[in-house]
């Protein structure tokens, strides 16, 4: 016998996750267009690893395997991680990062719904700390590298670290726009000067800014489909814009424009896909605003003053720690209890 309510909306965790995956497709398509098909290899590799690790962990934890494999959450972690690391990274890095994300950051915390940290960002953090060299070898965008690798060349490099004869690694890889900016600022160049380099595009990096547009488009779909609420992306992007604007206005030679910060690195991806992970973000609306604003602040600080090329991952992880506290202090007043203070005042006035 089951109890009321006897009807429910036809919806499921798997469908929500699937819609998020679909929303990433425009960004991924543009990624392939500008950086070659290597990213598809890493996404596939990460997906296989994630599903395998998930199944293994579920078996070890004596949980039913199929319902959880079909919930698409492991795939989402895999895709986010694959998109965060350089596409030409060797295959074992993807495997190690994904396996760590699923086994440690997700299942050791209790599996789906119980992880304190965003698993993909934990995987990213582990990789960037353990293999900083490989994590900065980004593929050069279409038209900018000295040599462009074909799909099979990319495959060969990913799996066997072999490049075609007479091609050096430097010829096919580049630092990211954010990294380039940071390096050249250290060389006492000014921001306008640096942004004139070919690696930069209209707003952010050449190519990568188009990928960001793709993710923005997908994010708007998520908003329209009510998969995510507006609070986190808006608070994140607006805060990032304001902080960047303040610094930029104070010293335009040393600090890049706000839109540059939006369209470079993982800011857009983070705002719509990473920070909005429901499990590791606050549940209250006010909490979401604080969380996203905090993440934006940390992102900016890490990008501009920190040692890592991008700040989104660490900002997410640091704000993840604060979530329980944020939620506790942003509990909204419930129905009928909003005017409790007022009520007392009224009683004094009324005889």
């Amino acid at each position: 016998m089951f109890f009321s309510p006897f009807i429910s909306k036809p919806d499921s965790v798997a469908q929500i996750m699937l819609k998020v995956l679909l929303a990433m497709l425009p960004g991924i398509a543009l990624y392939v267009w500008y950086f070659g098909p290597a990213i598809l290899v890493s996404i596939t590799l990460a997906s296989i690893t994630a599903l395998g690790t998930e199944a293994l962990m579920l078996k070890l934890r004596h949980r039913p395997i199929m319902p959880f494999l079909k919930d698409n959450s492991a795939l989402l972690t895999a895709w986010l991680l694959a998109l965060s690391i350089p596409p030409l990274a060797p295959w074992w890095m993807i495997v190690v990062g994904t396996a760590f994300a699923i086994a440690i950051a997700k299942h050791l915390y209790g599996g789906l719904g119980n992880n304190l940290f965003n698993p993909a960002m934990v995987g990213y953090a582990v990789l960037i700390i353990s293999f900083p060299m490989q994590m900065t070898q980004w593929i050069a965008p279409h038209g900018l590298g000295q040599v462009e690798l074909g799909f099979f060349d990319q495959l060969e490099y990913i799996f066997f670290s072999r490049l075609p004869n007479s091609v050096s690694l430097d010829a096919v890889t580049m630092a990211t726009p954010l990294d380039t900016l940071k390096t050249h600022l250290h060389l006492d160049q000014s921001v306008p000067q640096i942004l004139g380099m070919p690696i930069f595009g209209q707003l952010g990096g050449h190519g990568s800014e188009m990928v960001a547009w793709g993710f923005l488009f997908g994010g708007l779909y998520l908003l329209a489909a009510r998969i995510i609420s507006w609070h986190i992306p808006v608070a994140y992007l607006v805060t990032l814009f304001f902080i960047a604007a303040i610094f930029h206005l104070a010293d335009p030679h040393h600090y890049a424009a706000p839109l540059f910060h939006w369209y470079s690195g993982a800011a857009i991806l983070g705002a719509f896909f990473i920070l909005t992970d429901p499990v590791s973000s606050p549940t209250t609306n006010k909490g979401k605003l604080i969380y996203a604003a905090g993440a934006a602040l940390l992102t900016y600080l890490i990008r501009v003053f920190g040692g890592f090329p991008d700040g989104v991952a660490f900002a997410t992880l640091l704000m993840n720690i604060c979530v329980p506290l944020i939620v506790l202090y942003t509990q909204p007043k419930v129905f009928g209890k909003k005017d409790q203070g007022l009520d007392k005042k009224n009683k004094v006035v009324k005889p």
């Binding site: 016998m1 909306k9 789906l112 549940t283």
Partner: protein, 518 residues
Amino acid sequence: MSKLYHFHGGIHPPSNKTQSTQRPIACAPLPSKLVIPFHQHVGNRAKPIVQIGDHVLKGQKIGQSEGQLSSAVHASTSGTVTAIDMQLVAHHSGLPDLCVTLIPDGKDEWITHNGVDYQQTSHSELRHLLRKAGVVGLGGAVFPSDLKTDARHQKITTLILNGAECEPYISCDDMLMRERALEIIRGAEIMRFMLDAAEVLIGIEDNKPEAIRAMQLAAASSGDKMKVIVVPTIYPGGGAKQLMRVLTGIEVAAGVRSTEKGVQCFNVATALTIYRAIQFGEPLLSRIVTVAGNVRQAQNFEALIGTPIDELVALCEALADTNGYIMGGPMMGMPLPGVHVPVVKATNCIIASSKKLFPPPPPAMPCIRCTRCVDVCPAELQPQDLFWFAQSKEFGRAQEFNLFDCIECGACSYVCPSHIPLVQFYRFAKSEIRVREHDKQLADQARERHEYREHRIEREKLERAERLAAKEKSAQPAVIESLTPQQQVELATLEASRAHIRELAKSEVEHTVESPGN
């Protein structure tokens, strides 16, 4: 048009109401037997005042209300009492409760009853009449109406008639308003008189245009104090608290009476029952019941209280794949433990269920904290946190997070993508907390009684010691000197005879003690 307010959340489930509004309300034929529970209302169970074999008349009281919070129960038709025993009733527990079984004699013979002119009757007399007639709220809460029409302690400014009827499938109030609007308005006038309310607001959801027209027409005769207000269709907009909020902007938290804020709310069907009870002296013997769901032709019936639901559903022909019955709507209703369960005062709807209509919920997944439940919760709670606390039995935390403000509307479970039986968890936590509070009270009582007993034993010991001491003191011949010589002689002879008796007794004892040895 007055300003409407908005409450947070809500959902739009498919309404499925039109199936049962195609035909007018039909009078259900007299069933073969009636099973009338003694406990159909909030509060204490009524006390049986008939015996097996008694012949009762229609409208005769068979259960006496007990205590302040209770209500009377009447025979719905004339006939013979054949049993007073435990029978399955509509309750979530599926446990039996005390019921009268009445075999109708077919004559439907009324007991003498007459109404009063309410304007010439005192408020307390009117309340007494409602209590005698067993009138309780028919919207689902079945709270005794005599207690709700008591305006001695608070000033009521607004009387709300609830005709919103937001739950899917249910259309009994809709049909009642279409067909008997005038009687409802008459009842509302009586209630307004009893509460001395300044205005009456009748809230009806905009998916019932016929009912709105009928009620507007009927209300027009009562002047501008009676207003029909069309409210947007949204579940649970028919919840008393939600409707109050929409019509007046006033929010009432758990544990607070709406009358403290000057608002009282009744269901439209209750208004009609009050009218019949006051105007004609008719007790609450029947009500409108929607029969819907997996049936050939859904319809509303006026059914006697006590009608077994299988006889009622038979009138609509349940389809072959029917696998059970639900009393109430699909959002808050309860599955019935059997097909012979009787219609009670709270029965607004019977839904025949089938696997196709209400498929069993898919396997539950863990909560991913997506907060869809937060978005729809009309009480503005954090359902995902309450679920977490209830699940881990952290009842104190659940209470801190306002568990008792949950109205169990089921909107959270409806939208949950993980299909967690959220409302079940809240019901479990609430009932567990109530039991604990009750146990705590009992323990405190036991502690008090135990301490009092210890104290009493101590005191008795002390008193005995004092008595002994006092006795010894009085045994001393301190007062002999003050007696007359004659008294002294009497005392001396008395003493002497006592000494003699003592001597005798002693020797006898010695004798008896020795005798076994001999």
